[in-house]
């Protein structure tokens, strides 16, 4: 019985994650996260070009990277309704509608 339920959950999860809308949403999410790391590194470099690094600068940047993630995660949760509305309207004709979020 348990095995049957697990199989069902796996099947549903697989369907959800392979559906074009959720897959596209995860594409946006992954891109946000990659780019946020890139921006954090660029921000730190801009600072170091102008100023000498203060004590514990690297640790503060790691903490800052964490805050970037949190900020983007909540932003993505907030834009999720907009994204899915877009997908269900324009997305029916164009599967790559998630690229609008670039």
């Amino acid at each position: 019985m348990n095995r049957f339920i697990l199989e069902k959950i796996r099947e549903i999860a697989s369907k959800i994650f392979r559906s074009e809308s959720v897959s596209g949403y995860l594409n946006v999410l992954s891109l946000f996260l990659v780019v946020s790391v890139f921006i954090r590194i660029m921000g730190a470099l801009i600072f170091l070009m102008e100023r000498t690094a203060p004590h514990n600068f690297l640790i503060s940047q790691l903490a800052g990277g964490y805050e970037d993630f949190i900020f983007l995660v909540y932003t993505l949760i907030l834009i999720a309704p907009i994204y899915f509305v877009f997908f269900l309207t324009i997305g029916r004709r164009n599967a790559d509608v998630w690229q609008l979020f670039y």
Binding site: S23, L26, N27, V28, L29, S30, L31, F32, L33, V34, V35, I39, M42, G43, A44, I46, F47, M49, E50, R51, P54, H55, N56, F57, I59, S60, Q61, A63, G64, Y66, E67, D68, F69, I70, F71, V73, Y74, L76, Q99, F101, Y102
Partner: protein, 276 residues
């Protein structure tokens, strides 16, 4: 994503130059002309704005192509794990000033776009709270706090017979002749550059030495958003209000100031010197 990219980089650039975050208070009440002047001080010309369009397009195309290069399946799995991890941990862990050994590290760690948005939300919340205050209740609190017996004349609610104590009086003994009075106001001289606790090291050893032989306020509150706003505050006791007294420009009301009162009633001569 492109807008976030550009905004975060520009705000990081501003922070690197000024060592203060760009918040809503930075631009609130500042005219376009003043903003241009300040931007020019930091070496930013208006023409640079035209470059934002091609830069934005380059970033947009870069992001477009990035996903074609990377392994999407692996990236999505990593992203999903980070997403869930960050979501759960955000309930328990927050980036707060108390977690950092100094203000500079805290501000450099902050996400600059988030920091700006937070400052705007705080401003709106405080403004709403202020606008919804019950005037009569607040005035009664003010009278009780300052021990003022105010029974009538609400047209001038802050006017009252002074009952303020005079803790500074003993430091200024009466003399036969009026003393010379000199105000020295320094542009952008903050606590980070001056005094024993200067975050970036003190650049004012002489002023620091005077602190040992003077009345010195180590926890003085900023009374204006920007330096020029300090002048009416210090010399006229004129509050910052919503956008600052100087920004009232042509609507500026008649007002008293210390130099005016000293000159008209006490025989002083006044002079204003400014140096770049």
């Amino acid at each position: 994503m492109t807008f976030y990219f550009i905004a975060e980089i520009l705000l990081n650039w501003y922070f690197s130059l000024s060592l203060t975050p760009f918040t809503y208070h930075t631009i609130n009440g500042v005219s376009a002309e003043q903003a241009n002047q300040v931007a020019a001080i930091y070496g930013f010309e208006k023409t640079y704005l035209f470059f934002l369009i091609p830069v934005g397009l380059i970033i947009f195309m870069g992001l477009w192509n990035l996903m074609k290069i990377v392994d999407r399946t692996l990236l999505k799995k990593i992203a999903l794990i980070i997403f869930c991890g960050a979501l759960i941990s955000s309930v328990f862990v927050q980036v707060k000033a108390a977690h950092f050994d100094n203000e500079l590290n805290y501000q450099s760690a902050r996400n600059k776009v988030l920091s700006y948005m937070e400052s705007y939300l705080i401003y709106r919340t405080e403004k709403n709270q202020f606008e919804n205050l019950n005037e009569e209740v607040e005035l009664k609190k003010y009278y009780a706090l300052n021990e003022i017996n105010k029974m009538e004349n609400y047209d001038y609610p802050f006017f009252s017979e002074t009952q303020v104590r005079n803790p500074l009086g003993p430091f200024f003994p009466k003399r036969d002749s009026a003393p010379n009075i000199v105000f020295v106001i320094c542009e952008s001289l903050g606590k980070q550059f001056s005094g024993d606790e200067a975050r970036l090291g003190s650049f004012t050893p002489f002023l620091d030495s005077l602190a040992d032989h003077s009345l010195y306020w180590s926890n003085c509150m900023a009374n204006a958003e920007r330096t020029f706003g300090a002048l009416p505050n210090i010399l006229g006791g004129l509050p910052e209000g919503e956008t600052g007294f100087m920004n009232l420009r042509y609507d500026m009301p008649n007002h008293f100031s210390l130099p005016q009162l000293l000159k008209e009633n006490n025989g002083y001569q006044t002079a204003f010197f400014v140096a770049p």
